[in-house]
Symmetry: none
Subunit: 243 residues, 4 copies
DNA sequence: AATGAATGAGGCTTCATTCAT
DNA sequence: TATGAATGAAGCCTCATTCAT
């Protein structure tokens, strides 16, 4: 299933001359030029996540990136292409990072899961890239390309990675023999949800709040406790009952 | 904090004089008029969820409801008011239902949680109303009214309800002394996520799929196992490892 | 030059049955029905004058007349026909009145002019019919019919009437041998202007104001003084210089 | 009473940075940009006067100015703002001109009045700006801003100017001790009326006509004769009785 | 005769995209 | 490259008019 969003091999902006010129030192306006695509992607990410794709004007993106309307179209042929670039750009790296993290790890399946989820998701949660989840959720139905890209480039590998760890845990007698797919979902879905939340309700001025990083930690503990054969009794209990 | 989206007292469509006259038989165009708001809300919900608010044209909503463009504006003064009505209308009832379900229940906290979550969320998940989560996630930043309404009319009561059950379970020695708020989130967030999923990636034609109802059941078991002092060993284990 | 706006012979509303039925006493709902056209014309006049024809909604007219939107169309086939009816209805009578006033008068040309202008214009100025001048000024360019009607049914007769009086005054050696047409204009145009004013700036809440009736009196005196061979020295001087 | 329609300081079109850069030669599309506001104002004046504000479509204005619909909105944020700009732009200069004319004059009050009224009003009458009177009369009730602007920026100064001349004439024994305000109105109102007329009935193809410039001359003579202590006997008598 | 629900053409305004400079 | 003026398709909304009751 070929991914449609030009996965890792650079991005889809028009001139690829940046790849050609690679002098050790660039004059400053050159560096500006090379930075443009990234600046545009960052601006677009922030705005698309905040207001939605359809409700964001191309000119706003350009303005936030510090360039004029016309310049945007020098780098991306249309608003839609910009959207796809935003999504693929912000996901491709993260996945690889996660896999690397897992590969280099020694220890129990539980410890590995804890490490990956708390470390990796925690970082993701705090980065602007967390917003792409909202973007994907919001826009897949309008742009089917996104669905294929996201399923094959993000969900599949991530699920595979975590599924393997859970399977290893079960095989080692560390975890109970649960349904692996569902267990992985139980671990991941709240994480995604938290990222979504940060860029929707969580960004609104309200009395009510939700601490994402703290929740991540608690949740991982809770689910792992449900998963483990010998739960670390009390591990999830910290400040005890609240409110 | 007064909710801004006309919470329960019916909907916000314009004339309601029809309530006053109660002759045994209504002329047919009267009957149409009474049904219109609901038809429009249903159409709007489906389209807003599928394509997003900004990307849905008012005329599409009207067409799906079987009326003309102008008629829509006979019932809702603007597309934005229609959005608010869609959200408040589809959430107000559900919350009450859940509370009633909880109130009429006898049994352990764990059983109650299982009942509510699997029963109530399962139904919600299968109903079109599940889409409002996507709508809220997507549009809160653009329409701050929604934030206040959702926080006060949905999150607060739901959280209170589940929190009370968890607290009762802890007090009864049934649950470990976990952080209640986080536990509630661990239970709820994946549910919300599943609803979101159904109306985004889940609606796309892909190889990869996710069975919502089955996941709900598994997830509740898993978390409750993590929660319980004496986990029902093996409760979450059903078809064992997959793939 | 046939007038196009159905000058005096009744109005242009659709059913003319009202002319047929003329019993000495009508049941009350009948009287309502017969009164409708007048009520609609009055409402339309007020609104067209206040907001302009294009900016007035048919439904507003109906509402002000105390009927529903549909009823308006029972009496006038379109908004445009309503406009024409408003204009012709409100001008036809006034002109005849003026002519009668002039015919029944005995005395000098100057006295007659004074009488007609102060009396007749004063009354017109205070009646809602004064608004039609604004209406005509505003809408002639859009509805050429109005031009012909107004020129032949209003301007011509009025001008003829006053012109004759002035001519008589000149012949009698009472007035100087001025250009008659211009003299008539000098007398009439400020009157029209005052009527216009009452329904435009004069209706706005401002510090600055202009007393129409008083102005009319002063103006007639002033112009007659300019007209007369032996001006009534000091006639126009009343409270002397102001401000 | 602060005027609301951006009185003299240029017009209300959006960017004005062009004033800063003053290179000897401008690129052609720059030159277009500078000319646009005036072209749009001219087009708008003509159309608003001819058809009324509400009955004129924004696209018509754009087309008459030789640009597309969208371009209009590059210069004026709404049709209503365009209206206000049209009014303020076309009145601000004229008033100043009149004051200058008066200031630089030597001679009797009567001669000065004659000069100003015949010269200045004659020019105004022949210019497109005469149409703004129709516009103001027509639209004040719908746009209250206009009332304040017009009262403070047009009526007040003009009235003051003429009132001073009349007062001077009275003080010098040249004029009779008439009511100054009314005298000024007697002089001005017919002028305004003539401007109105030119753009309403006067623009319609009719048998009946009215020569504005000639009327102005006659009217000024007539009223001045009524005003003067020793009227220039026969001054107003030229071609004698007509018709 | 009267109502008011329904319609859809039409107007205002926005904004993605182009292109001359 | 970069700009920003210009375009025009498209969307929101209004309102004159129709018509079933």
């Amino acid at each position: 299933m070929a991914p449609v969003l030009t996965p890792e091999p650079a991005s889809s902006y028009i001139t690829d001359r940046s790849v050609i010129n690679m002098p050790p030192v660039e004059p400053s306006h050159r560096r500006r030029k090379q930075a443009r695509p990234q600046e545009l992607l960052d601006a677009a990410l922030a705005l698309f996540v905040e207001k939605g794709f359809a409700a964001t004007r191309a000119e706003e993106v350009a303005a936030r990136a510090g360039v004029s309307k016309g310049t945007l179209y020098l780098y991306y042929p249309s608003k839609e292409e910009l959207l796809k670039a935003v999504i693929s750009h912000n996901l491709s790296d993260r996945i690889a990072e996660g896999a690397a993290l897992a590969a280099g790890f020694e220890g129990s399946a539980g410890a590995l899961l804890r490490g990956i989820l708390i470390e990796w998701w925690g970082n993701l949660y705090d980065s602007p890239a967390a917003g792409v989840f909202k973007l994907v959720i919001t826009e897949v139905r309008n742009f089917p390309d996104i669905a294929h890209y996201y399923a094959s480039q993000v969900i599949e590998p991530a699920h595979q990675l975590l599924g393997d760890i859970v399977r290893r845990g079960i095989a080692a007698g560390e975890f109970r023999a649960v349904d692996v797919d569902n267990a992985v979902h139980s671990l991941i879905l709240p994480m995604v949800m938290i990222c979504l939340h940060r860029h929707s309700l969580g960004a609104c001025p309200l009395d009510w709040h939700l601490d994402g990083r703290q929740f991540i930690a608690q949740h991982v503990h809770l689910v792992l406790d449900g998963l483990c054969v010998h739960p670390l009794a009390g591990a999830a209990a910290s400040p005890a009952a609240s409110r």
